[in-house]
C-alpha cells in the first residue's frame, strides 16, 4: 500500500490479510490463492503489509475492550492515511469487526468477504472457471459463525461451490443452524473447558456423515479446526479441507 501511495496510485480495494493469513502456514496458502485470483482478474489491490495489525477481534471476544479499541483506533488511523474506502478479507472475524465494530470508532468502509468478492468477479466475467476438476465431487460447506449467523452471508460461498459443477451436500447443521468449529470467541487461543468432546470433533463428525470428499471452509480458523478434526479421525487420505478461494483458484487453474 505504501508503495502505491508513494506512486500516487489508489487501489480499487484493500486486501485485509489478517493475522492468520499473514502468519499461519496453512492460512498463507489461502492468502496466496486469493491473490492469484485477484491478479487473474486484474483487480487493482493493495495490502497494508507491515502496517496491518490485528483487527482486535480475539481481544474483544475475550472481554478486553481496551485492547480491542486500541487496535481498532490504530488500524483506522493507518487506513485513514491512505484514504481506504473498500476492504476485502478472507477472514470472517476481521470482516465482522471491520464492517460492524469499526464504524462507531471512526472507520467507515465498504467491507466484503472474499466469497462475496469472488462472486462479483465471476458475475462480471473477470474470472472464468473452465475445465472442471471438481465436477461431480461431493463438497460440503461449513458455515463460519462470523460470516453466517453473525452477518447473514450464507449464499455467496454456496453459489461459488455450485459454479464448480460440484455436488454441494449439506451437513445436519447448516446455515442459520450451523455448528461452530470451536475456534470463535477467542477459543482458538486457549485450551477448551472440561467436557466430553472437542467442538471441532463434533463438527468434523457431521462433515464426515455427508460422505463429502472436500470440506469447504471460508475462514482460516475454521480451516484449522476442521483440518485438526480430520487428522484426529485419521481421514487425511480421503477428505481434504480447502478454502473457497483455493477451490476457485484450482478450478481456474491458477
Amino acid at each position: 500500500m505504501a508503495q502505491m501511495f508513494a506512486n500516487g496510485q489508489k487501489p480499487e480495494v484493500l486486501f485485509w490479510v489478517g493475522c492468520a493469513g499473514s502468519f499461519d502456514d496453512r492460512a498463507k496458502k489461502i492468502t496466496k490463492a486469493f491473490v492469484k485470483i485477484l491478479n487473474k482478474a486484474k483487480v487493482s489491490f493493495a495490502v497494508l503489509g507491515t502496517e496491518e495489525s490485528c483487527s482486535g477481534d480475539p481481544a474483544k471476544r475475550a472481554g478486553n475492550e481496551f485492547l480491542f479499541q486500541m487496535q481498532a483506533v490504530g488500524n483506522i488511523e493507518v487506513m485513514k492515511g491512505y484514504g481506504i474506502q473498500k476492504v476485502v478479507t478472507a477472514c470472517p472475524h476481521c470482516f465482522n469487526t471491520l464492517k460492524n465494530e469499526y464504524p462507531s470508532l471512526g472507520g467507515n468502509y465498504e467491507v466484503i468477504h472474499h466469497t462475496q468478492f469472488m462472486n462479483e468477479l465471476l458475475a462480471a466475467g473477470k474470472i472464468t472457471l473452465e475445465g472442471g476438476i471438481f465436477k461431480g465431487k461431493r463438497i460440503t460447506y461449513h458455515d463460519p459463525c462470523y460470516l453466517g449467523r453473525a452477518n447473514s452471508v450464507y449464499e455467496a460461498p454456496r453459489e461459488l461451490i455450485q459454479k464448480l459443477d460440484a455436488e454441494l451436500v449439506e451437513m445436519k447443521n447448516c446455515r442459520k443452524k450451523g455448528l461452530c468449529c470451536g475456534a470463535g470467541g477467542a477459543q482458538m487461543f486457549k485450551e477448551p473447558e472440561k467436557g466430553n468432546k472437542d467442538v471441532n470433533i463434533e463438527r468434523t463428525e457431521q462433515a464426515l456423515e455427508t460422505q463429502a470428499e472436500i470440506i469447504a471452509a471460508a475462514c482460516p480458523f475454521c480451516n484449522t479446526m476442521m483440518t485438526d478434526g480430520i487428522k484426529n479421525k485419521e481421514k487425511e487420505a480421503s477428505v481434504v479441507v480447502l478454502d473457497i478461494a483455493e477451490l476457485i483458484a484450482n478450478a481456474a487453474d491458477l
Partner: protein, 441 residues
C-alpha cells in the same frame, strides 16, 4: 342478599387484578435496575419483528412439532380470553351468557372455544409426555432439577384443569339447557362438551346447577390465580415475549457494542494534547465499572430477557459448548440472571428501597468462570431463541469484567492478548514479518 354473588365476584376480581398489578410494578422496578440502553430507533422494524416473532410465532415453528403444538396452546389462550370477558361481565352483572344475543355468531364462538380447549388439552398432554416420559434431553439438563421442573409441570396441570373446568361448565350448561331449566337460555353450540352428557344423566336440576356454578367459579378464580402465578414462574413469557421482541437487538448478531467508557479512555490516551499530570477533575466522580459482575451492571434489556426466558432450552440444545459436555448452558445464564435479580429485588424490598450488600453477586455465586470461558460466541443460542433473548451479550459483559476489572483471564488468553499488544498479532510473530508470505513458496 340477592347481590351477594356479584359482590363476592367483584372482590375476587379486584383482589386478583390488584395483586397482579403489584407484581407487575415489582417486575418493572426490577427491570429498571438495569443500565439504560437506547432501543427506540427503527420503530417500524421493531413493530414488524414483534408482529412476526411474538404474535406470528415464526421462530417457534422452526421446530415443527413443539412449534405447532405451542401455536395451538397460544391461540387457545388468546381466543378463549374472549370468553373470559363474557364470564367477567356475567359475574359483575349477575347475567348468564351475556353475549348470547349474538345468535349464530355466539354459537360459532362457543363452538370454536370448545374445539380449541380440546386441542389445548391434547397439546398439553403431549408436552407433558415430552417432558416426563420421553424426557427430551433439553428438559432434563442439570439446571432443570427441582423447582424449574415442578414449575413447568405445574403450568401444564393448571392449563389442563382450566380447560376441563371450561368444558365441564359448558357441558352442565348444555344439559341444563336441554332440560329447559330457567335462567339457562338456549345459547351456544357445544361440539365437545355435549359428549359429557352421560356424566350428567340422572342428575337433578339443582345438582346440575351446582356442577355448572362450581365449574364456572373455579374456572374464573383459576384464571385469576394463574395470572398471579406468572410472576413466580417461568411463564411470564406470555406477556414479556411482546416487549422482548420489540426491544431486541436489530444489529447484525456479530456486532458487539463498543463500550463508550473505554472509547473515552482510549481517546484520552491517544490525544497528544492531554496533560498527563493534570489534576483529576473536581467532585466525586466514581470511575465507571467495566463489564458486569452483578445484575445491576447489565442493561434493562438484558434483565427483561431474563424474566422473559421460559426455559425451553432451545439455546442450550444448539450450544456447541453444551453439546460437547461443557458446563456452559445459555439457558442457565438467563435463569441465574433472573434468580439473582429476584434476590436483589427482595433485598431492596426488605431494606426500605435500598440495596444492602449481601456478599454475593451474579459472578461466582451464580455463574461460574468456567461457564463464561467455554463460550465460542457463535450466536447459536441467540438465533435459536424463539423470543430473541441474547445470552451471549451477558457472557461477554461478564468476561469484560473478568478481564478489565480483575485481569482474570485464562493464562492462554493473557498470552494471546500480550502478543496483540506487543506485536499486533495473537501469536508471537514480529509485525515486520507480516508480508513474508509474498516471497515464500
Amino acid at each position: 342478599m340477592e347481590y351477594l354473588p356479584n359482590i363476592i365476584f367483584l372482590l375476587i376480581l379486584l383482589l386478583g387484578i390488584g395483586f397482579f398489578t403489584r407484581n407487575i410494578k415489582r417486575l418493572s422496578r426490577n427491570i429498571k435496575l438495569g443500565k439504560d440502553v437506547d432501543r427506540t430507533d427503527n420503530r417500524g422494524q421493531r413493530w414488524a419483528n414483534m408482529a412476526k416473532i411474538a404474535l406470528g410465532q415464526t421462530k417457534m415453528v422452526v421446530r415443527p412439532i413443539p412449534g405447532i403444538l405451542h401455536v395451538i396452546v397460544y391461540l387457545g389462550f388468546i381466543i378463549i380470553n374472549i370468553e373470559v370477558l363474557e364470564i367477567i361481565l356475567d359475574g359483575i352483572f349477575g347475567t348468564h351468557r351475556l353475549f348470547a344475543p349474538l345468535g349464530k355468531g355466539y354459537d360459532f364462538l362457543i363452538g370454536s372455544f370448545e374445539v380449541l380447549a380440546l386441542l389445548v388439552i391434547v397439546a398439553v398432554v403431549v408436552f407433558w409426555i415430552r417432558r416426563n416420559v420421553l424426557r427430551l434431553r433439553r428438559f432434563v439438563k442439570p439446571e432443570m432439577k427441582g423447582w424449574p421442573k415442578k414449575d413447568a409441570n405445574l403450568i401444564l396441570y393448571i392449563e389442563v384443569v382450566l380447560m376441563f373446568l371450561f368444558l365441564a361448565m359448558n357441558g352442565a350448561d348444555h344439559a341444563l339447557q336441554q332440560m329447559g331449566a330457567s335462567h339457562y337460555i338456549l345459547a351456544g353450540s357445544f361440539p365437545v362438551s355435549q359428549f359429557m352428557a352421560p356424566l350428567f344423566e340422572g342428575m337433578s336440576t339443582s345438582n346440575l346447577i351446582l356442577v355448572e356454578r362450581t365449574a364456572w367459579w373455579l374456572h374464573i378464580t383459576g384464571i385469576l390465580f394463574f395470572l398471579n402465578y406468572l410472576y413466580y414462574s417461568k411463564h411470564l413469557h406470555i406477556l414479556l415475549a411482546f416487549p422482548n421482541t420489540f426491544y431486541a437487538n436489530l444489529k447484525p448478531l456479530g456486532q458487539f457494542n463498543n463500550l463508550e467508557s473505554v472509547t473515552n479512555e482510549v481517546k484520552l490516551m491517544m490525544d497528544p494534547s492531554v496533560d498527563p499530570f493534570a489534576a483529576p477533575p473536581e467532585g466525586n466522580i466514581v470511575p465507571e465499572k467495566f463489564g458486569a459482575s452483578d445484575v445491576t451492571d447489565l442493561s434493562w434489556v438484558q434483565l427483561m430477557n431474563a424474566y422473559t426466558c421460559t426455559e425451553c432450552g432451545r439455546c442450550t440444545s444448539e450450544c456447541p459448548a453444551n453439546l460437547t459436555g461443557k458446563k456452559l448452558s445459555p439457558r442457565k445464564i438467563m435463569m441465574d440472571t433472573r434468580d439473582r435479580l429476584e434476590e436483589v429485588g427482595k433485598n431492596i424490598d426488605l431494606n426500605k428501597g435500598i440495596f444492602v450488600p449481601d456478599g454475593k453477586q451474579l459472578l461466582d455465586a451464580y455463574i461460574t468462570r468456567e461457564e463464561l470461558w467455554a463460550c465460542t460466541s457463535c450466536n447459536a443460542c441467540v438465533e435459536a431463541c424463539p423470543v430473541n433473548i441474547d445470552p451471549l451479550s451477558i457472557i461477554i459483559d461478564m468476561r469484560r469484567y473478568l478481564v478489565m476489572e480483575q485481569s482474570a483471564a485464562p493464562s492462554d488468553l493473557n498470552n494471546m492478548m500480550g502478543n496483540i499488544e506487543n506485536n499486533g498479532a495473537p501469536w508471537p510473530f514480529n509485525q515486520m514479518d507480516r508480508l513474508n508470505w509474498v516471497n515464500e513458496n
